[in-house]
C-alpha cells in the first residue's frame, strides 16, 4: 500500500479518531488499540491539566500523535489563540482547525478557516483544517500551507454518511495534499466508501464513541478503512449501464480476428 504522510510523519493507519462523546475516558486506550489509529484528536477546551484523575491527555497512548482541535472557536482569531495555547500546553504542533459559528448544524466557516490556517502554518504548525467541501476553498487552504484538507461528509455527529460525495470526489481529484473525510461517517461501510473513492484517510468520532461497544466499533472501522484503501489501490472496475457477462457467450466469434 502507498503510505500516508502528513506533516512529514508517515502513518501506517488511515483512521483518525476523536475523543469526544465517550461514556468514559478510561475506554479511550482500548479504542485506540482496537482501531489501530496513530492520530487522536481532542477538544483543547476539555483538557484539564489541573485535574489529577480526569486529564484526557493521560488516556491517550504516548505513541499517538495528538491532534488538538479548536472546537469552540467562532472565528480565525480564536482558533489561532487555541492553537497557540495547545502548543504551549505541550500538545505538539499539530492542530485541527475547527471554526464554527453555526451551533445548529455545526458547519465550518471556510473563509475564517483559511485565515487561521495561513497564520498558523507560517508559525510552524501542521494544520489540518475541517472544511465545507468546496474546491476553491480547498485550493486556498493548500496555498495557505495546510497539511491536509478535511471536507465533511455530513454535519458533525449526524452519522448520515457521505452526503457530499460528488464534491469530495472533485477535491480528491484536484488537490495534491492528503484529503481526510471528517464528520458524517456513521458506519464502517461509509468509511470504506470514502477510502474506495480515493480519500487518503477518514476521521471518525461519534460513530465509534456512541456505539454500544466502542472498542468493537473501533476495530470495525480499522478493518473497513483497510479494505477500502486496498480496493482503491487495486483499482475498482468501471461502472456500466448494461450488464457485462464475466464469461461472454459470443466471444468465440472474435477469437483470432486480430491475430
Amino acid at each position: 500500500m502507498n503510505q500516508l504522510v502528513i506533516g512529514g510523519k508517515t502513518l501506517q493507519s488511515r483512521l483518525l479518531i476523536g475523543t469526544g462523546k465517550f461514556p468514559d475516558k478510561k475506554i479511550v486506550p482500548e479504542v485506540v488499540e482496537a482501531s489501530g489509529t496513530q492520530v487522536v484528536t481532542m477538544a483543547l477546551r476539555r483538557v484539564d491539566l489541573d485535574s489529577k484523575e480526569d486529564n484526557l491527555l493521560d488516556y491517550i497512548p504516548k505513541h499517538c500523535t495528538l491532534l488538538p482541535n479548536t472546537s469552540g472557536a467562532r472565528n480565525a482569531d480564536e482558533a489561532v489563540r487555541i492553537a497557540r495555547l495547545a502548543r504551549t500546553m505541550g500538545c505538539g504542533n499539530w492542530v485541527k482547525i475547527e471554526v464554527i459559528s453555526d451551533n445548529k448544524y455545526l458547519l465550518p466557516d471556510n473563509m475564517e478557516t483559511v485565515r487561521a490556517t495561513e497564520i498558523l502554518a507560517k508559525e510552524g504548525f501542521v494544520v489540518l483544517p475541517y472544511m465545507n467541501p468546496d474546491l476553491m476553498s480547498a485550493k486556498r487552504l493548500v496555498d495557505a500551507g495546510a497539511a491536509t484538507v478535511m471536507p465533511l461528509g455530513a454535519p458533525i455527529g449526524t452519522n448520515r454518511g457521505i452526503r457530499t460525495k460528488e464534491l469530495i470526489q472533485i477535491i480528491i481529484e484536484e488537490i495534491d495534499i492528503p484529503v481526510v473525510v471528517d464528520a458524517g461517517i456513521g458506519r464502517p461501510s461509509e468509511a470504506a466508501e470514502a477510502m474506495e473513492m480515493g480519500a487518503d484517510a477518514v476521521l471518525v468520532n461519534t460513530a465509534i464513541a456512541t456505539a454500544n461497544s466502542p472498542v468493537h466499533m473501533g476495530k470495525a472501522f480499522h478493518l473497513a478503512v483497510q479494505a477500502g484503501r486496498l480496493a482503491y489501490e487495486a483499482q475498482l472496475g468501471r461502472q456500466s449501464t448494461y450488464g457485462n457477462a464475466s464469461s461472454p457467450l459470443t466471444g468465440f466469434l472474435y477469437e483470432g480476428v486480430n491475430s
Binding site: 465517550f22 468514559d24 455527529g157
Partner: protein
C-alpha cells in the same frame, strides 16, 4: 424586532383545540419526522402524546447521543448575595421576607471559590438577588475577575442588564448567561411580581437577546414550572429558544425546567407539574430542538435526576448550596429554596458513571 413580537402573535392562541384533535396517526407521523414544525411541537405537548412517551423518549435518547454523546457537564452555583428589591411571590429573596441577608466580600468569594475548585469543578454559575445598590455591575465584574483564577467557565444568573453592561461582564470573563423568564404569560407575570424592577416583563424577556448581541457564548432560558399551565409555558419556551437559535447561530442555547420548590414565603404552585409532565416537556423540547442543551438542577430528587440523563440532559448542577457562603463560610445565609439532591460532587460523578455516562468537569476555557 424581538421575541416579544413573536410572543404577541402566539400568546392568544387557543392550544386546546389542536391538542384535542391530535390523533394517534399524527403522533406516529411526528415521531418519524426529522424536522418538526411548531404544530408538531404543540402536538407533542398534548395529552394524547402521553401515550407515546416511551417512543418519544427513545427518539430523544438517540438524538441526544448523536449530538452530545454519553457526557454530562457538571457545574455548581455560587450565591454572591441575596439582597433583593423585588417582590416575587415564589422566592425567598423577596424583599419583604425576613431572612438573613448576606453579601460575600471579595476575599470570601475567593474562599468559596477555593472550596468549590477543590472538588474538581471548572464551571461555576454566580447568582445574586436583584439589588443594584449592594451588587452593582462593578461588584459582579470584580467577582468574575477573582473567580477566573479558579474556574475556566463563569456563568451568570443575576438581574437583567443593559446591552452595554452585558458587554462589560462578557469582557470580564462571563461566558454564559441564565435568565429565566419565570412565566411567559404576561398577565400571570404581572400578578406574581408584585413590585420592583422585575415587574418589567419585556425588559427581562429581551435580556438574553441583549447578551446574544454582545456575543455571549451560551444562553440558558426557561420557565419556572408551577406558575402557569406547563404545556403553554413549554411551548413559549421552545419558541423562545428557537427564535434565539435562529437569530444568533453562534450562541449555544440551552433550557432549564425548574419546578417551584418550598421557600421562605407562603406562595404555593398553582399548577401541578408531576414527574411525567416534566418528562413529556423535556421530550417535546428535545424532539423539536435536538441541539438545545437541557439542564437539570438540584431542585429535582437524586433518582429522578439520574433517570433523566439518558433522556437528553447534558448539564447538571452538583454539590449545591443555595445559601450565600454555603460552600466554605461558617455563617451562611438563609437559602433561596430547598434543594432535593444533596449529593456532593463525587457522589454525582459516580452516579453519572454508573449510568454509563462521562461526567465532564471542564468543557470550556478562556482564550
Amino acid at each position: 424586532m424581538s421575541f416579544y413580537h413573536v410572543y404577541q402573535t402566539i400568546r392568544d392562541d387557543d392550544f386546546y383545540p389542536m391538542h384535542d384533535q391530535t390523533s394517534e396517526k399524527d403522533m406516529m407521523t411526528i415521531l418519524h419526522k426529522n424536522i418538526l414544525t411548531e404544530d408538531d411541537f404543540l402536538r407533542l405537548l398534548s395529552p394524547m402524546a402521553e401515550m407515546y412517551l416511551e417512543q418519544a423518549a427513545q427518539k430523544a435518547h438517540a438524538l441526544s447521543l448523536q449530538y452530545f454523546g454519553k457526557t454530562v457537564l457538571l457545574y455548581t452555583p455560587m450565591y454572591l448575595a441575596n439582597y433583593c428589591v423585588n417582590r416575587c411571590v415564589y422566592c425567598s429573596f423577596n424583599t419583604q421576607n425576613v431572612i438573613e441577608r448576606r453579601q460575600l466580600t471579595y476575599n470570601e468569594i475567593e474562599e468559596e471559590a477555593k472550596a468549590i475548585a477543590s472538588t474538581g469543578l471548572k464551571h461555576i454559575l454566580i447568582l445574586t438577588g436583584e439589588c443594584r445598590k449592594t451588587t452593582p455591575v462593578a461588584y459582579i465584574v470584580n467577582a468574575v475577575k477573582r473567580l477566573k483564577k479558579y474556574f475556566d467557565s463563569v456563568g451568570m444568573e443575576i438581574y437583567p442588564l443593559t446591552e452595554e453592561e452585558y458587554k462589560t461582564v462578557i469582557n470580564a470573563g462571563v461566558d454564559s448567561l441564565t435568565v429565566y423568564q419565570e412565566v411567559y404569560d404576561e398577565t400571570i407575570y404581572d400578578n406574581v411580581h408584585l413590585s420592583g424592577p422585575k415587574k418589567d416583563y419585556k425588559y427581562r424577556l429581551d435580556a438574553p437577546e441583549r447578551a446574544c448581541r454582545q456575543k455571549i457564548r451560551s444562553v440558558n432560558i426557561g420557565p419556572l414550572l408551577g406558575l402557569n399551565d406547563w404545556r403553554k409555558e413549554i411551548f413559549f419556551t421552545g419558541m423562545h429558544a428557537k427564535y434565539l437559535q435562529k437569530k444568533y447561530p453562534d450562541v449555544d442555547i440551552s433550557i432549564s425546567l425548574p419546578r417551584i420548590k418550598p421557600h421562605a414565603g407562603t406562595y404555593e404552585a398553582r399548577y401541578d407539574v408531576n414527574d411525567q409532565d416534566l418528562v413529556q416537556a423535556l421530550m417535546a423540547l428535545k424532539l423539536f430542538l435536538p441541539r438545545v442543551g437541557i439542564t437539570i438542577s438540584t431542585r429535582e430528587a437524586p433518582d429522578f435526576r439520574d433517570n433523566l440523563i439518558p433522556l437528553g440532559v447534558v448539564k447538571m448542577s452538583a454539590g449545591v448550596s443555595t445559601e450565600v457562603g454555603g460552600h466554605a463560610l461558617e455563617h451562611g445565609s438563609d437559602s433561596q429554596f430547598e434543594i432535593s439532591d444533596p449529593r456532593n460532587v463525587n457522589m454525582i460523578k459516580h452516579a453519572i458513571l454508573k449510568k454509563g455516562y462521562q461526567p465532564v468537569f471542564k468543557d470550556w476555557m478562556p482564550f
